[in-house]
Symmetry: C2
Subunit: 171 residues, 2 copies
Amino acid sequence: MEMWEAIRARRNVRTYAERPIAHKDLNRILEATRRSPSSSNRQRWDFVICTDRAQLEDLSTVWRGAGHVAASAATIALVAPNGDDARTRESVQYDLGQATMSIMLAAADLGIGSGHAAVSDQELARRILGFPEDRFCAWLIALGYPADRPLTPIERPNRRPLEDVVHRGQW
Amino acid sequence: MEMWEAIRARRNVRTYAERPIAHKDLNRILEATRRSPSSSNRQRWDFVICTDRAQLEDLSTVWRGAGHVAASAATIALVAPNGDDARTRESVQYDLGQATMSIMLAAADLGIGSGHAAVSDQELARRILGFPEDRFCAWLIALGYPADRPLTPIERPNRRPLEDVVHRGQW
């Protein structure tokens, strides 16, 4: 897909068709994720990719808003080091945001929808995913072909107007 | 450009050709940015776009690592609310990371390079950009056509290998 089409077609998708995602497509999304920029190229992240139905159902219980993970075709768990200080934790989150957008746009390019979930029960997430004590699971990004309608460019996104959010030269 | 090409061609660019960026291309990058997802669609961000050379030179002094902003064709300043608590500040940074990646990929699609800068002197940034007291300038994203060579897909990115950074099912 053309980039400009994918950027306009991406939307949060939380209901998924039963169709699986081909292994090569998941790998392409993960390759895009791996290439994301990060502070001093530190890459303070690991990505756990889950496709097993029982595991996805378990994962969907780590936060009250993660129900859509259960029926996703795949979910990428973003795992990062526990930061020692506020500055580190904020910097890690910024980098994870960059990785997240890479996932979502690479998925949209393939017609695959995506939806975020936070993680409130870290101990449960740790038991399900097996990451070490010095890490936390920051986010889950659920993936799947949309159950409702294919991804096509959105003409009027539900966003603040350009002239409101953009300032030219000065606030 | 095809999305997959742009994802592989994006790289941090800090030396820029003198060529300006067309107004319509800047607007397209800002449109992509505006469409980024955010927590509960709160869009806790404003974007100040700077193209004036004297202003860019001033902006390049807000952090010791922001020198590349001076010769950029344009720089987008990401301004966000001062968060009252750590959780809010981390959430804002995550969302700004998503917006940043939208900028960088939309720019790469047009053959335009991009490079981050942090902001350490908030009072100076405020004087230059005019944003209110209850906001801070989180990041600068400098933009410009690369001075060295055009953006083309990178075969071997300087990143952890896929098999190291990706875990299948379990850590």
